[in-house]
């Protein structure tokens, strides 16, 4: 999967899971604000990423992944 495909898959998965329009998911946007994540739904996002992309995000890394762009890069390096 190239980076473009990965971005499309990430956006589609997150938009469906958290019931938002894909159009509001932009690279610079803040993930928590855009998806309206609280501490409980953040766990759902981590579980979704793990099941869809086979990448486990440790708690220590979560604080560094603030934007979608950071998430794409993180997954591209590991998936």
């Amino acid at each position: 999967m190239d980076k473009k495909e990965l971005i499309a898959k990430v956006n589609a998965c997150l938009a469906e899971e958290f019931e938002v329009e894909e159009s509001i998911i932009t690279p610079e946007a803040n993930i928590k604000q855009t998806l309206q994540l609280d501490s409980l739904s953040l766990v759902d996002m981590v579980a979704l990423i793990e099941s869809e992309f086979g990448v486990k995000i440790p708690t220590a890394d979560l604080g560094k992944i603030l934007t979608f762009d950071a998430l794409y890069d993180y997954l591209a390096e590991r998936s």
């Binding site: 409980l40 953040l42 766990v43 759902d44 981590v46 793990e50 486990k56 708690t59 979560l62």
Partner: protein, 139 residues
């Protein structure tokens, strides 16, 4: 296998609210627990183990799973709080005398919140299934 009063080393609950009477197996990612439904169980009404009992059994199974890890490290069990129950299906109510067998699978853990999936069966019949988010209280 851990049973009898040894269960108290894995969960903080005490009678009459103990809803797990055996841990058949446990490792870092999953556990299998059991409960034989007794007539005097506080969640039994008219010979059936009621819905809150099934949920409590699953929650305590998840606690026993977490407790197994602390037990293996020689620590006291930690209190756990249910943060969310999701995709819950209660298919049937077990009868007095039924032996519940529950499989707990750790899906992920983030910042002290565990996401687990659970399925409770009596023999081959699924009684309940759900996902739970559980906060483990720091000591």
């Amino acid at each position: 296998m851990i049973g009898g009063t040894d269960i108290y080393q894995l969960i903080p609950q005490r009678p009459p609210i103990v809803m797990v009477d055996v841990v058949w197996s446990a490792d870092e990612t999953c556990a299998e627990t059991g409960l034989t439904v007794q007539e005097d169980n506080i969640f039994v009404r008219n010979g059936r183990f009621r819905e809150p009992g099934l949920i409590e059994h699953i929650a305590q199974s998840a606690a026993a799973f977490a407790g197994y890890g602390t037990f293996a490290r020689g620590e006291e069990p930690r209190l756990g709080y249910i943060g969310e129950i999701k995709d819950c299906t209660l298919s049937s109510l077990p009868k007095v005398g039924d032996e519940l067998k529950t499989r707990i699978q750790l899906m992920t853990e983030v910042g002290g919140i565990r996401l687990i999936s659970a399925e409770t069966k009596v023999k081959d019949a699924v009684m309940a299934s759900c996902q739970m988010k559980i906060f483990l209280k720091e000591k």
